[in-house]
């Protein structure tokens, strides 16, 4: 946990949204569509980025493949993945709180 925490936190926006999407079972293209909707089209993840990120997250045990349907490999976040995501979300909430009143 501590090792992964120092490796993943702070997280890139890409990693954050992929991990967030994988709180539900999803496959590569489905993750991209979900993130596009969440960010109103601001973030459009590319195929190479998704492929690289899923490989890294799986290797580190933050996500795991759950099944394969019609050549689509479906992933879901593990308990560790969820813990890391929560730590990161708290960090972002703190940034949000501390930057209130700016402008």
């Amino acid at each position: 946990m501590n090792k992964m925490q120092s490796k993943y936190i702070p997280m890139t926006e890409t990693m954050f949204y992929i991990l967030l999407s994988l709180q539900e079972e999803r496959y590569g293209y489905g993750i991209m569509k979900h993130v596009e909707t969440l960010t109103s089209g601001r973030i459009v993840l590319g195929a190479g980025t998704i492929y690289q990120s899923l490989g890294k997250l799986q290797k580190d045990g933050l996500i795991q493949p759950v099944k394969e349907i019609e050549r689509k490999k479906i992933y879901k976040a593990t308990t560790l993945g969820r813990k890391i995501l929560v730590v990161e979300a708290k960090r972002i909430a703190e940034i949000y709180k501390n930057s209130e009143g700016l402008r």
């Binding site: 293209y29 993840l45 190479g48 980025t49 492929y51």
Partner: protein, 179 residues
């Protein structure tokens, strides 16, 4: 009007992945098209005259791709044009926004890093062969023979030239690693 265009050594002239992509894209826009890339394509490529096409090309080196590599790209609508060495060339036709396969800085950098690793490995292999050549010359008693000396010098010069080329290529890719 000519309907074919042969390009030699494209893989050695455009070494930075992003440069290679934009070169293929500008060829397609001018109406020079290639539908299949082969192992030999880094040495010679034959383009055919078509109408101008707006393609986004992607250069992606994957030495050991996982099973879902191709299907991931295909789900995103990319067409595999082919593979040279471990480099996959993908493309997608588009109208307005040029689509990206590497959508953030971290993954672009990783793409370059993979090319750099392949070059480092090649560099080490050439370096080892240079050392081995010198060692085999010195460890036998051929040192007096003129032909053996000439062979050694020629061999070392070729290897040296290759090492310089590889070194310069790595430097160029490293400098452009965020592209």
């Amino acid at each position: 009007m000519k309907n074919k265009k042969v390009v030699l050594l494209s893989g050695f002239r455009k070494v930075v992945p992003a440069e290679y992509e934009s070169w293929l894209e500008s060829m397609a826009l001018e109406g020079w098209n290639i539908n299949k890339i082969h192992q030999r394509s880094s040495l010679w490529m034959i383009f055919e005259r078509t109408e101008g096409k707006k393609y986004r090309y992607v250069y992606d080196l994957q030495a050991f791709p996982r099973k879902e590599y191709k299907t991931t790209y295909e789900q995103f609508g990319w067409e595999l044009v082919g593979k040279m060495a471990s480099v996959y060339i993908w493309r997608k036709e588009y109208i307005d926004t040029r689509p990206e396969s590497f959508s953030d800085a971290a993954s672009l950098k990783k793409r370059s890093q993979q090319v750099l690793w392949a070059l480092v490995l090649t560099f080490v292999l050439f370096l080892a062969s240079g050392v081995l050549l010198a060692y085999s010359y010195l460890s036998t008693n051929l040192q007096g023979a003129n032909w053996a000396t000439i062979q050694l010098i020629l061999g070392e010069c070729l290897i040296g030239a290759m090492l310089i080329y590889l070194g310069l290529t790595m430097r160029k890719i490293y400098i452009n690693r965020h592209l």
